[in-house]
């Protein structure tokens, strides 16, 4: 039966069955045990037309927040950044989004070229030498870094800064458990940065440490002081998870001697997507290239000497090396990486810097103004990029403040009491927020304080 997605007419079906020598389509399924087929229970779904399904999904959509109606200060790993329209124009080219992994290089030069560009961009941002073309997300990229570090160093014990995004830490713990690796969490100090004394203590004590996993800017928005870490670590790996937008301004982890740099690339031209698809970034040193997980595009020449690109170093991958592959990843987040490529190219050298600075300046403006409200203060004193932790006045509940802000069409940030910081919220500010919106935020916070104290 021809549905709109199946071009087979009854006549086509009859002809094909005849060529096969089968009497019916049914017959083609006789290799499935009869009892299995008989046990099949339909879903009870009538087919529906595009119009009906669109209506149904639009109705579901309408049951949610319409983000265009709210001013968002939500961050915590996913950010509301400006995406120029060119990104969507390119992403909607069906040659990009309906192709698959570029196994056949000669008819995949579009994909392989942007992958090559993407790898270059990630290297530029992070200050590293080689990068792959994507991992699932920031969390799994960090987990893959952990695995890789363990492979290279042969060590099974790793240090994990508590400033790393809690949800990444949870993923790390799951992966570490799978691979029998040990993770030791290191606390942060009053600046919100890794407590360096604790690190030193562990390093002197733990001879068998394979590396340190740290995030900068960290979950609290604080820029970690990466200086000297690699020197402390020695042979052990310095693994840094980063926000790529911050690297428009911040010194890249590569310049601090990082061995692996990972990060969540959503901010680069991808919408929040309710948390997925995201974009795991992964970069490392040339010398570890053959231990790197994930796909890479490499430059070569064709039979006539013309430059072209192919998937390189496939011998690291599962489809060649199977259980000895550097990762089990196959399908990755290619289209999100394309978005990041176009986004970075659209902004360009100047643009990314400008954008990063808008984030920085706006976040600081807001932070200062909030800290100016009686009883409110910044939880940490370290330098921050576009996100900061606000500690509420004694006795104030974050959930109440956030609910009040929501009334004013403001998504005021994350309630950190869900993450163990009882009296605090995490506020993110991007280039999209206007001064007007920041002032409104401050006003509403002040008003809530007043109302609550009245």
């Amino acid at each position: 039966m021809a549905t709109e997605f199946i071009p087979h007419t009854p006549e086509d079906i009859a002809e094909m069955l005849a060529a096969i020598g089968a009497g019916s389509i049914e017959e083609l399924f006789s290799d499935i045990p009869a009892e299995v087929r008989e046990r099949y229970k339909p879903l009870g779904l009538e087919p529906k037309s595009e119009l009906e399904v669109s209506r149904e999904l639009r109705r579901l959509a309408a049951e949610n927040l319409d983000p265009t109606g709210f001013i968002s200060f939500l961050g915590g790993g996913i950010y509301d950044h400006f995406i120029p329209a060119v990104v969507e124009q390119i992403l909607s080219r069906s040659e990009f989004y309906t192709a698959y992994t570029p196994y056949q290089a000669e008819i995949s030069q579009g994909t392989l070229t942007w992958m090559f560009e993407f790898q270059t961009l990630v290297c530029e941002l992070t200050g590293m030498e080689v990068a792959n073309s994507s991992m699932y997300d920031g969390a799994t990229a960090l987990a893959e870094a952990l695995f890789m570090a363990s492979r290279v160093t042969g060590k099974r014990r790793f240090l994990l800064a508590e400033g790393v995004n809690p949800s990444y830490r949870q993923v790390l713990r799951t992966y570490a458990w799978a691979a029998d690796l040990q993770l030791l969490e290191l606390p942060y100090d009053g600046l919100g940065q890794l407590d360096r004394e604790a690190l030193k203590e562990q390093l002197t004590r733990e001879l068998e440490v394979g590396g340190l996993l740290i995030q900068s800017p960290n979950f609290f928005g604080i820029v970690e002081d990466l200086e000297g870490l690699k020197e402390l670590l020695g042979e052990a790996f310095l693994i840094v998870s980063t926000n790529p937008i911050s690297l428009g301004l911040l010194r890249p982890p590569g310049e601090f001697g990082a061995d692996i740099v990972v990060g969540e690339g959503q901010a680069l031209g991808n919408p929040p997507n309710f948390g997925g698809p995201l974009l795991g970034l992964f970069a490392t040193r040339q010398r570890y290239l053959r231990q790197m997980p994930g796909r890479v595009s490499g430059q070569t020449v064709d039979a006539e000497g013309k430059t072209g690109y192919v998937m390189a170093l496939q011998t690291r991958e599962q489809h060649i090396r199977r259980e000895r592959a550097t990762s089990n990843i196959c399908t990755n987040e290619a289209l999100c990486a394309l978005a990041a490529t176009v986004w970075l190219a659209a902004l360009g050298k100047e643009g990314l810097r400008e954008l990063a600075e808008l984030n920085l300046q706006k976040a600081h403006y807001l932070a200062e103004r909030i800290a100016g409200i009686k009883g409110y203060r910044l939880k940490f004193t370290g330098p921050f990029f576009n996100e900061f932790v606000v500690q509420l006045p004694q006795g104030r509940r974050p959930s109440e403040l956030l609910a009040a802000l929501r009334e004013a069409k403001i998504l005021g940030g994350l309630d950190l009491s869900l993450y163990g910081l009882k009296d605090s919220i995490l506020v993110a500010v991007t280039e999209k927020r206007t001064k007007e919106e920041l002032d409104l935020f401050v006003e509403e916070v002040a008003r809530h304080l007043e109302e609550a104290t009245r």
Partner: protein, 480 residues
């Protein structure tokens, strides 16, 4: 040509708003030593040049919207366009994962409902949508097995996972990542798991088996119930790699075959676009027994309200930053709703019909090592066609005929394999054109084999030197 070659100082692709508030000196905000000295060397290109560059690149790709893409094991079916529009609704694409349950009821409901449907198709009572792709689902499945035996105190002993020799590369890699040792179990001459071999391998050190059904030869494991019994009787669990579900969807359920864990590839069976390599989505359905171990959060429903259940003490934890690839799920959900039961049945019916049709017609010209009824795909061998002609040459020559080549050199158990999966979304006329091209190529292989060896002739580039790329890897553009 890369975007970097279009770069000239002073150009830009998009402008940004100015700072609308007082500027502070950078050094007062961030210590000098943590500031960047040299900006990253991003390209500087105008918007017209940017658009022209990526438009040009796009035209160097072959894609599903260009025609037949019979890449075996990948189910390159047509991606309904309405799903693209729906996935981009601002309430979906613009939703922040931490915006809170009260503002996300529609999103959670969609995930919940999709989960229910997938459970129905798996024939299993519990599900997680968290994995971002098939291999991610496999890894999760292996972790569930690990947890299962950890809970029973058998982990120290149960260190092995059985895999048929026809398994996809992600299977051994995933099992290995989850800390298991991989043991291959042989196929018989029909291309199915050899039961005697399995019985021998299925010791009490084995935690379970990973099966792809139909297997990568496109052959349904006719003795799947026996396999499940052998494994279960020896205390193991059965993992069902659902990458090939397009062949049986709407007709048979892994749960009814005795499978304990199933992963779906939403980007295969459920028509979400492959994106040039991703994103995908790999939900995992499990038995009641394994349900407590599913990763947090699980989307749950109470009194008509949907919520994220984190309170799962036996959970293995988390395998993704948030809840998985949500906008991929939106597309799959819309797809299933459009098809309904009847449409799903038609999908597998036509997918299998098209594959068998191609197989029967092509086996007259090409070797078919496993000559049996197939499901959604089948595997030919490119051997013996002509003087020094390899499967690679056949594949490259197909490009000249305007087709994407099949998957080649996989599965490993067939020499010079050509793994062909037409899917149900290609017309008989297109299938016939493909057959004609394959026949013509077979003739060329005998008569003018250089045509194949030098192929492709009509592609954006001629044959590319893969060896060189491996020997002297150049993985980033030179910017100096």
């Amino acid at each position: 040509m890369t975007i970097f070659e279009l770069s000239k100082p002073g150009r830009r692709g998009v402008s940004l708003p100015g700072l609308d508030l007082p500027r502070r000196d950078l050094e007062t905000l961030i210590p000098q030593k943590l500031l960047r000295h040299e900006p990253p060397r991003l390209p500087e290109v105008s918007q017209p040049d940017l658009v022209r560059h990526y438009t040009k690149l796009s035209k160097m790709n072959y894609s599903v919207d260009d025609g037949l893409y019979p890449l075996g094991s990948c189910t390159m079916k047509y991606n309904p366009k309405v799903n693209e529009a729906l996935a981009r609704l601002p309430q979906f694409a613009g939703a922040h994962p931490l915006q809170g349950e009260e503002l996300s009821q529609g999103l959670l409901r969609l995930m919940f409902e999709l989960g229910e449907l997938l459970k129905g198709l798996a024939g299993l009572p519990a599900i997680t949508l968290q994995p971002a792709a098939g291999a991610h689902g496999e890894l999760l499945g292996m972790l569930l097995i690990r947890k299962h035996f950890e809970e029973r105190g058998e982990l120290a002993r149960r260190t092995k996972i059985l895999l048929p020799d026809s398994a996809h590369g992600t299977n051994p890699a995933s099992a290995h990542t989850a800390g298991f040792q991989v043991i291959e179990t042989p196929s018989d001459e029909r291309g199915m798991v050899d039961l005697a071999g399995l019985r021998k391998n299925m010791t009490d050190e084995v935690a379970g088996i990973m099966l792809t059904v139909p297997n990568t030869l496109g052959i349904f494991e006719e003795e799947i119930l026996e396999i499940a019994e052998i494994v279960h009787r020896a205390g193991g669990l059965c993992y069902f790699d659902g990458a090939n579900l397009n062949s049986i969807v709407g007709r048979a359920r892994p749960g009814d075959m005795g499978m304990d864990i199933v992963h779906f590839n939403l980007h295969k069976t459920f028509s979400t676009p492959h994106g040039g390599g991703g994103p995908g989505s790999g939900p995992v359905a499990v038995t009641e027994e394994l349900e407590p171990y599913l990763p947090v959060p699980v989307v749950a429903k109470r009194d008509e309200r949907y919520y994220l259940d984190y309170d799962r003490p036996k959970s293995i934890g988390k395998v993704h930053s948030f809840f998985g690839n949500f906008t991929v799920m939106v597309r799959a959900y819309a797809y299933i709703l459009m098809l309904g039961d009847e449409g799903l049945r038609a999908v597998s019916g036509s997918a299998v019909l098209a594959a068998n049709y191609l197989k029967e017609r092509l086996k007259k010209t090409y070797k078919l090592p496993y000559d049996r009824p197939c499901k959604h795909e089948f595997v030919l061998s490119g051997k013996g066609l002509g003087e020094g002609v390899r499967t690679l040459d056949i594949a490259k020559r197909l490009i000249d005929y305007g087709f994407h080549p099949p998957t080649i050199y996989f599965p490993l158990i067939v020499e010079e394999a050509l793994m062909i999966e037409p899917t149900e979304t290609v017309s008989k006329e297109e299938l016939d054109r493909f057959i004609a091209a394959m026949e013509e190529i077979a003739r060329e292989a005998r008569e003018r084999s250089e045509l194949l060896k030098e192929a492709p002739h009509h592609a954006p580039v001629r044959r590319l030197d893969e060896v060189r790329a491996a020997r002297q890897p150049i993985l980033r553009a030179g910017l100096d």
